[in-house]
Each structure stands twice: as C-alpha cells, then as structure tokens.
C-alpha cells in the first residue's frame, strides 16, 4: 500500500476529484489539444498570454487520475509565470517524473513534487507529462494536436 500511496498521494486524488481551473477559458488567445491514444486520455489547455506572461490558464479533458491531477496542478502553478519560467518548470517536472533528475531539488517544484512517485511507474510517465506537453504546444501556438505516441 505504501508504494500506491506514493503514487496516489492525497493531493493528487484531491485534484483528480476536484480539478482546479477546469473550464474553457473565455478570452484565451492560445490553446492546444493533447491525447494519449494508448489509454484514451485527452486534454485541452487554454492560455491567456499577456506578452510573455501567462495571465490565465485552464484546461478541459478526461482521463486517469495522474493526467487529470497533473493538469489541474499545472494550471495552479503556472498562473502568472513567464514563458521562460514555465519552460524551466516543465524541464524540472519532466526530469522528476522520468527519474532523470539527478540532483534536482524537489523543493523547487513546490506542490508539483507530489508527482515524484510517478518515476517508479514508467508506463504512467506519459500520463503525468501529457498536460505539460500540451501546455508547451499552446505556448508555441501550434495548431497540431499533441500526441504521446
């Protein structure tokens, strides 16, 4: 059970059951769609960019606890951040969930550190990273849907 609790931490379950910023964003000037064809997870990330700053961010979608809570926590983290800060957080988050982090300090990730257990579950890494890949596609203004495959 301890391993399971490491993956399914209370914060993760809370954000799965009560996702934050779960709506279409009125006034969004960027958005992107992402999906994981293997498990059917799909997500749309909306951004309201003010120059280089993410003024508002929201998402809609359906999927597993990991992908949906990762999306929810991502939106609460990125609001007010610059594009460069978002990219840096993505890099650290990705290193943490893939276990490639080396000496990365989980404290730098704040609440996002609850996903550290994902690295023990290689098949679930795509679930946790799908919202982030989708957010980056929205930042870039890409029109193509993001796929984990």
């Amino acid at each position: 059970m301890s391993d399971l609790r490491e993956l399914y931490q209370e914060v993760i379950l809370d954000h799965y059951k009560r996702p934050r910023n779960f709506q279409k964003l009125d006034g969004a000037n960027r958005h992107a769609e992402g999906h994981n064809p293997l498990c059917g997870d799909q997500i749309t990330v909306y951004l309201h960019m003010d120059g280089d700053v993410i003024r508002e961010i929201s998402f809609q979608g359906a999927g597993c606890a990991i992908s949906q809570s990762a999306a929810s926590l991502m939106t609460t983290t990125l609001k007010g951040k610059t594009k460069a800060e978002a990219e840096e957080l993505f890099k650290k988050f990705h290193e943490m969930v893939t276990g490639d982090g080396g000496a990365a300090d989980p404290m730098e990730l704040g609440k996002l550190a609850v996903f550290c257990g994902v690295s023990e579950f290689p098949v679930r890494v795509k679930c946790a990273s799908l919202p982030w890949h989708t957010m980056r596609a929205a930042l870039e203004g890409a029109d193509d849907a993001v796929s984990t495959e």
Partner: protein, 424 residues
C-alpha cells in the same frame, strides 16, 4: 507431460478427466505462473492479450534449436529432413485440431492479423469491385477492420458494420438485412476480445452461404477456449494466433477452403512459394506453399504443434466447461462490487470480464491491480469502435485461461476493493 493427461489426441470428455481436471496440477506446467510481481505472487489475468507457455513448448523450442535446427524443403541432409518432418507434422496436427479436410488448407502465418491481411490482399484484391459490399461487425478487433478498410479504400468497396446491443450481442436481424447482390464477403469475430461475446458464427455462416457469400472467422479469442471444427462451422476462412493458444509469438494459422485458396493469387513472392522461376515467367508452388514465401517460422510451428498437443491432452470440452464455471464465479464476484459495471453481458460469453468502476479510470485500476500482483489489461483493447459504442475511453479487462482458479478471481476482487479504497 505428466499432468492432467488421460488420453491422447481426442476431445471426448471422460469421467476421469472431468474429475481429474485440476488447475493446481496444470499450473505446475507453466513456469511463468510462479514468478512474483512487486513481491506478490503473479495472478495472470491477461490471457486475451497473450497466454503463458507450458514447459513442453519451451522445451520443444530449445530442442529444435539445439538438436534439429535446419531449413525446410531444401536440403537432402539429415537435419533438413528432420526439420521438414517436424514442420510438415505440425501442419497435420493443426489440420486435425481444426478438423480441416486437408493439410494443404492450413497456411502458416505470423498470426491472426497476418492471416486476415492475406485474405484481404489476395481474395479481396481479386474479387472486390467498386460498389461491392463487405460486412464486418461493430465488435471487431482493429485487425479485422483495418485490413478491410485498406482494400475497400483501394477498390472503392463499401464496408458495412453489423451493430451491437447494449449487452454486446450482434443484431442478427440487421445482419440478415445487410446482404445485397453486391455483398462479397463477411468477416466476423468468433469471440470478442473486448466483450467476451461468443457470436453465433455457425448460423451467420449459413445465412451468408444461402446468398453465396464466403465468411472469414477471426478465431484469435475462440481457439483457446472451445473446440473448433471448421467443417462443422462451414467457415471459408478461419484465422488464429499461436501465442494465444499457449504457443510461441510470431506464428499463426490461416485455414481456407481448398477451392478458394487455389483460386487466390499469392500474397507475397519469394522462395518456397514457387515451383519454377525464369525471368520470363514464374510458376507458383501448390497449396499451401504458394502462401508461405521465404523461410517459415519453423520453431514456431514446432512450438505451436506442441502447444496443440498439450491442449488436446487436457481436452477442449473440459477446458470450456471449467472456464465457463470460472467465468460465472468471477461474474458473480465482480457484479457484487459497488460501483463496478461489467461491459459485455452477452448470454454466451467466453474468457473475458471487461469492467469499469465509478470514479476510477481503467488505467488507474490497472496500476493498482498490478501493485497487488494482478495482471489485467487496461485500455481500448485494440477495439476503439467498441469503446465508442459504449461511450467509454477504456475498460479494465480480466481474461482467463484454464490455469486460472477461483483464488485468482478472489485476488482480482480483493485488488479492485483496494483500488476503491485508495480512491475513496
């Protein structure tokens, strides 16, 4: 072969067998069933994806590669003759297993998918025309959809789909109404991998034959669970995979009626499928070699033949009866779990318990069950149209073989309860 063996080469149930059918003995024949996963004993319930292999199959592969390895139908030397004999003997064993009329109606393929592609690219390419129809069903695996879409796109042939009920049964009245004088082929799954439904293929074939339409049966999920007699079914093609029948991956069988196979052009060109080659003209080999270009999967055939021998010794009627009891037990157990819904509740089912649980995604169920040592499949089961029909992104699927026990079902139910607890 000391376990569960009472008689060779027959499927007649005998009292001794029914009494003597002991999964705990049978389990000893499968080394992979004793591994531990995350410190827990493996409960392997992903048999619809692939089955474990009995030691006799593993030994047969080792023996071939250590003592008999040689190419077939080539050399005059000793080993080549040994290999050829084992390879051809494998074909005879498959023919008997399916009760086909002739050895040359048995074509070795890479698996079910390869067999269906062979029929689509050879039979379909020759016979389909613009405006013709091919009938498939709404519960097909992608392997019995996409090969038909490819040839139908090319030939501008229509693909018609028999709808299914909420229980996951085919709407047979609609099937019957779908036939026109342009219907060229029916391709139907015998047992659905996503729902477990056993389709009434014998009746469906009779209906098609009344209109002169041939039928291909996708047997990937029926061959491990029940006796299959291709002459009794009167199917025109029947395809299955060795690895779902306790044999190796990469080997499969396409059965085809001789007169149909004879009239079909080759699928692939190369060695073994010719009898004479000049730059002006090539004369193709006779059946079944016409459809077996290149060096075949000799070890695979030997492994498959050994697996078939093993299954025959246990007896397919005994397997079917035992698994029906196990499935009924599992169905009752899972149905009693609050918030759990079985997907696929046909009256006639085999092997599969597909389900969803309120508030927990199938992917999360799969991970939590895995931590308990319970291996199930979570996802769309390569049957995305089935998932769409039921409005689901994915299901969790437990699928049984004759080596599974009621204790495995208990472990499954217990692990699902754990998942519900985690998400409470």
């Amino acid at each position: 072969m000391k376990h569960a063996v009472h008689h060779r080469g027959t499927d007649d149930p005998c009292q001794e067998c029914l009494v003597g059918f002991g999964p705990e003995k049978i389990r000893e024949d499968f080394p992979a069933l004793s591994v531990t996963v995350h410190g827990k004993p493996l409960v392997y319930l992903d048999n619809a994806a692939t089955t474990q292999k009995p030691q006799v199959v593993i030994d047969a592969l080792t023996r071939y590669y250590t003592q008999e390895n040689s190419n077939v139908h080539r050399g005059v030397h000793f080993l080549s003759q040994v290999a050829t004999q084992a390879y051809d003997g494998g074909r005879t064993r498959v023919r008997r297993f399916l009760n086909a009329a002739h050895d040359h109606e048995i074509v070795f393929t890479r698996g079910t998918t390869d067999g269906i592609n062979l029929v689509a690219q050879s039979y379909g390419r020759k016979h389909f025309r613009a405006g013709d129809d091919v009938i498939i069903t709404a519960m097909e695996h992608h392997s019995n959809i996409v090969p038909w879409q490819m040839i139908c796109d090319e030939k501008r042939t229509n693909l018609k789909v028999v709808p299914i009920t909420d229980a996951g049964e085919l709407r047979l009245a609609e099937y019957e109404r779908m036939f026109t004088d342009r219907t060229k082929l029916v391709a139907v799954v015998h047992v659905s991998n996503a729902l477990g439904t056993v389709n009434p293929v014998r009746e469906m074939i009779a209906l098609a034959h009344k209109r002169g339409v041939p039928v291909l049966v996708d047997g990937a999920q029926s061959i491990p669970h029940m006796p299959v007699d291709v002459q009794d079914l009167d199917c025109d093609f029947y395809a299955f995979s060795g690895h779902k029948l306790f044999g190796p991956t990469g080997i499969g069988v396409l059965y085809g009626k001789a007169e149909l196979l004879e009239a079909m052009p080759p699928y692939q060109g190369g060695g073994d499928m010719i009898s004479a080659v000049t730059f002006e003209k090539t004369i193709y080999n006779t059946l079944p070699y016409k459809f077996e270009a290149g060096t075949p999967h000799i070890a695979g055939v030997i492994g498959l033949a050994t697996a078939i021998e093993y299954v025959e010794r246990i007896g397919r009627n005994q397997i079917a009866a035992y698994e029906a009891d196990l499935l009924a037990y599992g169905t009752e157990l899972l149905s009693a779990i609050p918030g759990l819904r079985l997907v696929g509740t046909a009256k006639d089912k085999a092997g599969v318990l597909s389900f969803v649980v309120d508030g927990i995604h199938a992917h999360d169920i799969g991970t939590i069950l895995d931590m308990e040592g319970v291996a199930v499949r979570a996802g769309h089961h390569c049957a995305m149209p089935v998932m769409k029909r039921f409005g689901l992104p994915a299901t969790a699927r437990a699928s049984v073989a004759f080596y599974n026990t009621r204790a495995d079902m208990d472990a499954l139910a217990k692990a699902i309860h754990k998942a519900i607890e985690v998400f409470a």
